[in-house]
């Protein structure tokens, strides 16, 4: 099976172009000047140290949630619950951040991150078991657990983990648990490097190791992406790899939450709002379900998001425009028949042969 073929890239750019036209239309209809908005958008995403580091900071959790989604989708589990894992991981990272007082910097950060990974992974245990042993759709289970997670963390930081009677939040994490921020007026922190490391690590695990091969071939596969029902015939324990893949996915979701709390916000409060788990799904699809592709499209999405915030701040255009445009892009990218239809053209076929890379 070839991946990163030329026609996929072509589709992506064609999709981006069409999405741009849609964006132009939406902005024109709602009475704005698209060219000015686009200029502000670009400025907010890339111009100046502050904007650039903010873009990288916005991309940090997105890279992790995208890799989490990639892992689960590649084992054939539609994990929609990364957002829930992220909430749980963030809550427990914040708890560990103020609870353990005698640890050194490195150990404390490691303990917090480890606890977040474990709790995030455990949150995904129930859907994984239900799917594998009883055939209950993991999609619905994980979606429902997202709702439960939000209300659960909100209850916990109001009740057991509440610091003061005034504000519904946990105490601030200790200095030993903080991830270092490098620039004034930007929350860019060490978590970014962790995220990049994780995505490269999972590129190697998924593509270059036996364990990764077992994971990949374990799932029954998505219809449009990696259909593979043969793993059971090869003697690979597909049940086990489905559960492990789901746990890894949840753990990475927890890590994303931990990185946000330890690096950016520094405590867990009731109004803390995560949407990166859902964004991660879109990003992973744009990145063709590859960890590195996920990282690149997470950086792209981070730029879009940060640019959107800047536009929201400077003008009266809502930041939601970014999510609207991304979901329109998904409509184009996920339409497999368009990709197949391109094969009719001779030049696409020829370029495809030049650029594709056989993987399996």
């Amino acid at each position: 099976m070839d991946k990163f073929s030329f026609k996929d890239v072509l589709i992506l750019f064609a999709g981006l172009f069409l999405t741009g036209i849609f964006g132009w239309l939406i902005l024109s209809i709602t009475g704005h000047v698209p060219s000015e908005i686009a200029k502000l958008f670009f400025e907010g995403a890339f111009i100046g140290t502050r904007n650039l580091t903010n873009t990288l900071n916005a991309a940090t959790p997105l890279i992790l949630t995208a890799v989490a989604t990639v892992v689960s989708f590649r084992v054939g589990m539609f994990n929609i619950g990364v957002n829930g894992s992220m909430y749980i991981g963030a809550l427990y990272a914040a708890w560990a951040g103020y609870r353990f007082t005698t640890l050194s910097h490195f150990t404390h950060v490691s303990v917090c991150i480890l606890i977040a990974i474990i709790t995030g992974a455990l949150w995904m245990l129930l859907p994984a078991l239900l799917k594998v042993y009883a055939g209950v759709s993991e999609i619905i289970t994980t979606i429902m657990l997202n709702f439960v997670a939000i209300l659960f963390v909100s209850y916990m930081c109001n009740g057991p983990f509440r610091a003061s009677p005034i504000a519904p939040s946990t105490p601030r994490i200790l200095e030993t648990a903080e991830l270092k921020q490098y620039f004034p007026n930007s929350q860019f922190h060490t978590g970014f490097f962790i995220a990049v490391f994780v995505s490269i690590l999972f590129y190697f695990i998924l593509n270059k190791t036996t364990f990764g091969y077992e994971l990949r071939s374990g799932g029954d596969g998505l219809v449009g992406f990696y259909p593979s029902r043969y793993s059971t015939y090869l003697g690979i324990p597909s049940d086990r790899s489905a559960i492990i893949g789901m746990l890894i996915s949840g753990g990475l979701g927890g890590l994303a939450g931990a990185v946000e709390v330890l690096g950016s916000v520094r405590n867990f409060y009731q109004e803390l709002f995560f949407n990166q788990g859902f964004d991660g799904i879109l990003i992973a699809i744009i990145g063709k379900l590859e960890p590195i592709g996920g990282m690149i499209s997470a950086l792209f999405y981070g730029a879009m998001k940060n640019g959107g915030l800047y536009v929201d701040y400077k003008t009266d255009v809502s930041r939601e425009i970014v999510v609207i445009l991304i979901s329109i892009l998904i409509f184009f990218v996920s339409a497999q028949k368009i990709v197949k239809g391109l094969e009719k053209f001779e030049f696409v076929k020829r370029l495809d042969k030049l650029f594709s890379r056989k993987v399996r």
Binding site: L126, Y133, G135, V136, S137, I143, Y155, G224, S318, S334
Partner: protein, 308 residues
């Protein structure tokens, strides 16, 4: 037995009101699932319909225009879903997810651009759909139980019986079931499975439209961000719990409605933490999913492989 006091007429009425949107979505989901379509996008269809319904009612000052626009919005979103998954070969789940995310962001964007509000929208000039009062029940003991609901509540009961008839006693119902159970065999028997799938998806769009307008201009005249609040998914679970049959889905929806209503009442009586009460419908869904799992586990028996 103090807690028994919450079981009274007003709880019954509240159960019926909570059941209605879940059952509407559930019937749509049941028909789609019976035809083998996993329709995750119902949540987004409902949200779009809720927003378009209230916007149309606000601008036209007529509840009927609001209702028709809302249902059309639900159908249009369904057409988008069908176009993506049946015509363009997108994965059903991805198409559904993209639609849901699109609906949440899109309604929020329009809420801010059209009405310049964040969070929620309510205005005295929005006309809601009025409840129906039966004159012949006036004064009788049934008035409290049966009279004064909005039209959708009665429609749901009608729909349950109607769908039961269609599902089991018509050619169409058989075709739908055949499409879901064995598409190849259905094709061989001369059933156009793609057309059946389109039909069920559009039907579910109509129901999601009615459900959406029920939320925004019928039960209340108010729109809040993400007001469908997972009802689309709960409807899916209800249809799955009811084994994709009309009456089973209706029963399961009633169960969810009961949980919802009891939670609201308990909050009044016992001053429970509001977050725990809000969690009830979702936690109940997870419990039901576990029950479905147990049921499937016991139903599917493994065939022992004979040793030579």
């Amino acid at each position: 037995m103090e807690w028994l006091e919450i079981f009274d007429v007003s709880l019954f009425r509240s159960v019926l009101r909570s059941t209605t949107p879940i059952a509407l979505i559930g019937f749509g989901a049941a028909m789609c699932s019976a035809a083998g379509v996993l329709n995750i996008g119902l949540e987004g269809k409902m949200l779009n319909a809720a927003f378009v319904g209230i916007a149309a009612s606000f601008y036209s000052g007529s509840a009927l225009v609001g209702f028709i626009s809302g249902v059309s919005a639900g159908v249009l979103t369904s057409l988008l879903f069908g176009l993506l998954s049946f015509k363009l070969g997108a994965d059903e789940v991805l198409a559904g997810l993209a639609i849901n995310i699109f609906a949440i962001a899109g309604t929020r964007y329009l809420l801010e651009t059209l009405f310049e509000r964040r969070g929620f929208f309510s205005d005295p000039s929005i006309k809601g759909i009025e409840p129906i009062h039966f004159d012949f029940l006036e004064g009788s003991r049934f008035e409290l139980i049966l009279s004064g609901f909005t039209p959708s509540v009665y429609f749901v009961f009608f729909l349950a019986i109607f769908l039961y008839y269609v599902y089991y006693h018509t050619r169409l119902g058989t075709s739908i079931r055949a499409t879901g159970e064995n598409p190849e065999a259905a094709e061989d028997a001369g059933i156009n499975t793609v057309r059946i799938k389109w039909l069920t998806v559009i039907f579910s769009g109509v129901l999601a439209g009615i459900g959406g307008t029920f939320l925004s201009i019928e039960n209340m005249t108010l729109f809040t961000e993400g007001m469908s609040a997972g009802k689309g998914y709960i409807g899916l679970v209800a249809s799955s719990f009811g084994a994709n049959t009309p009456l089973g889905t209706f029963g399961a929806s009633m169960f969810f409605g009961l949980g919802d209503a009891i939670g609201i009442r308990l909050q009044g009586v016992y001053e429970l933490d509001s977050r725990l009460v809000l969690m009830i419908p979702y936690a109940l869904t997870v419990v039901v999913l576990i029950l479905i799992g147990v049921r499937q586990r016991f139903r599917v028996r493994k065939v022992p492989i004979e040793k030579n």
